[in-house]
């Protein structure tokens, strides 16, 4: 067993959360400006802690840490794991759609917060978050989760 473990290398696992602000007209979403590289705007999220928490718990914790919002997870949009999606190293992320109310406030890895109407999502997000949010727009409109992608 320890042999398995020491030779084992799998992608680093993260959780990201698309937070819909339910108490605002048009249900806008929350983006953060990243403090750490890769810089740029992104969906809130972060790494899952080994041995300590499930992916769902990590999602709720990271949303709280970065946006100060208590979120309620509503659905798993998809798992994004293309080996090239993160410029640092291979990461996989489970992306949840969640809801919250109140005023987001940047903290932790978030340098600033942006509340964005779904018609005005910036085109230059970090990681593969533009792909994630294009899947989210389909989910929001039609209820379909992200397509499975076997190309990589």
């Amino acid at each position: 067993m320890n042999n398995v473990r020491s030779s084992l290398k799998t992608p680093f696992l993260a959780a990201d959360v698309i937070i819909e602000l339910m108490d605002r007209p048009g249900r806008p979403i929350v983006l953060i400006e990243r403090l750490n590289p890769p810089h740029g705007m992104a969906i809130p999220g972060g790494f899952v802690e080994h041995g300590l928490e499930s992916v769902e718990r990590a999602a709720v914790r990271e949303a709280l840490e970065e946006t100060s919002l208590v979120v309620r997870l509503r659905a798993l949009l998809g798992v994004y794991s293309n080996p090239a999606r993160d410029p640092r190293f291979h990461t996989a992320t489970a992306v949840y759609v969640a809801e919250a109310t109140g005023i987001p406030k940047a903290a932790d890895d978030a340098k600033a917060i942006q509340v964005v109407a779904v018609e005005e999502i910036p085109l230059n997000l970090a990681f593969d978050h533009n792909l994630v949010l294009s899947d989210y727009l389909v989910f929001r409109a039609e209820g379909r989760v992200a397509p499975l992608r076997e190309e990589s």
Copy 2:
């Protein structure tokens, strides 16, 4: 970046596949008897290779390696990541529902294959695979994916 990487410890990431045999009456599923610990029957699957493949690709590869079946992934059932789900160490798995035709043949980490009617799923599967398959039965009957679980 290298500092982030060296101090970072996230759950090991796997992919598992519930394979429906489309050319048999009642669309039974494929279970394997595990060669390596933890022993017992389980859904086919295995670890995602860092830097080399997406979770979807790992799912298709592991299904082929363990059952000799070429599968077509149909849906993401859920991500299972309770820190206690694997007796070895903390693993998270993305579980897919897939379809295949033909005759499964055990190989790699599979010591034997069992083709099982959904009414006859054994109750003592390895890992949390009984939970996974109870979620699958709901999916199969009603189309709903696994519920999100924030309790751990």
